[in-house]
Symmetry: C2
Subunit: 227 residues, 2 copies
């Protein structure tokens, strides 16, 4: 039994280390050699599990999808601002865990055909999931109908969800993607994405949204004061 | 006189070709050697004008800034939806002309310190320019005040303006950045960015905005039918 399990454990360890290194240094900056050194295994052993770097990337993308899909599928249970906050925050947390994908997205897409198809599908799934969320909130009288339809709002939300990290990176390349920044970044961006719903929220939901945004702002202030 | 002008003309030609190649293939995919081959000049001649690839990139970034700043400075003259459409469209056109910058933004930023400072300043200038635009439109009774302030709206607009190309690239890597797509992409994204203002627009401005968005949609349809 033990010998049967060993290869699977090695593959898992390789994926874990790769993810950490890709997130930390960006995928282009991490060679398969660096990964085997980090794990203290031979390059041949790594090659046995993942013959090419893109196999590693594709396996990590499958993990990302497996973490994201259950969240996306729950979007038609989101009836109010509180649920929406939790939903957005959950998506942002998964995006953060696999942030190397969006950090060098265009470059990865230009050379990896599996990712090209996979990312397009993810963006489409995210859009559809948000459309269900917006329609459910409207049906539950949490949101008023927008003047130009939900499609444009959903697409803007997708764009913010996917590129907020690139935006923060552009503003502060040395710190934006460091592990310490995770919780605060997810909160800040959840507040920002939900800000798109502010003009459509009915009065009590708008008040609730404002409390959530204020709560984030005061927490961020405390953290700055401590740091 | 002629001999004095020659070097300047060469530098200009180098910049023009570099920009076209960077836009077409992405900056990481274009070597300085490829640029000298394209121009039919010696690598030494290229090196004489631009000793390093980053010198080329920095000179192009200066050109980008020179094209963008006059537009940004005119934002406090934007009093209605029609002007806002023109303003957004102008910003998007300049971003399109220098699209290589945003195509591999994170990678360029991680190795080029001048760009690190420059891009942060551009994003800040863009945000301030949009805040002036939003306040001017509100002062001119084209927009109602938003429930959570203009800051969040302006930031979302900046994010869309800067990353719409990356988003389109992720949806369609083979065609999104091709020259043919320029006019249609700028129109589609102007409609999308202005969509963020829809809930705040006063009645007649909202109707005008809807006409602009519809006009774009019908034009896009015709183009699809022709193609």
């Amino acid at each position: 039994m033990g010998t049967k399990k060993a290869p699977r454990r090695t593959a898992e360890r390789i994926l874990e280390s790769s993810l950490a290194l890709f997130n930390r240094f960006g995928e282009p900056g991490v060679s398969t050699n660096a990964i085997s050194v980090e794990l203290n295994i031979s390059p041949g052993n790594l090659y046995y599990h993942f013959p090419a770097k893109d196999d590693l990337i594709n396996a990590l993308f499958v993990q990302y999808e497996q973490a994201l899909q259950p969240i996306l599928q729950a979007s038609d249970g989101v009836t109010n601002v509180e649920d929406a906050w939790f939903f957005i925050h959950s998506v942002l947390e998964v995006n953060w865990q696999y942030r190397f994908i969006y950090r060098n997205l265009n470059e990865l897409l230009s050379r990896n055909r599996q990712l090209e198809t996979g990312v397009r599908q993810t963006l489409e799934d995210l859009t559809q999931s948000l459309l269900r969320l917006l329609n459910t909130m409207q049906k539950n009288a949490a949101l008023n109908a927008p003047p130009v339809g939900w499609d444009s709002v959903a697409r803007s939300m997708v764009l913010l969800l996917v590129f907020w990290l690139s935006y923060e990176y552009a503003l502060d390349p040395r710190n934006a993607l460091e592990e310490d920044n995770a919780q605060n970044a997810a909160m800040r961006n959840a507040a920002h994405v939900l800000g798109l719903l502010a003009p459509y929220a009915v009065a009590d939901q708008q008040a609730h949204l404002q409390r959530l945004i204020d709560a984030y702002a005061s927490q961020a202030k405390t953290e700055t004061a401590v740091a």
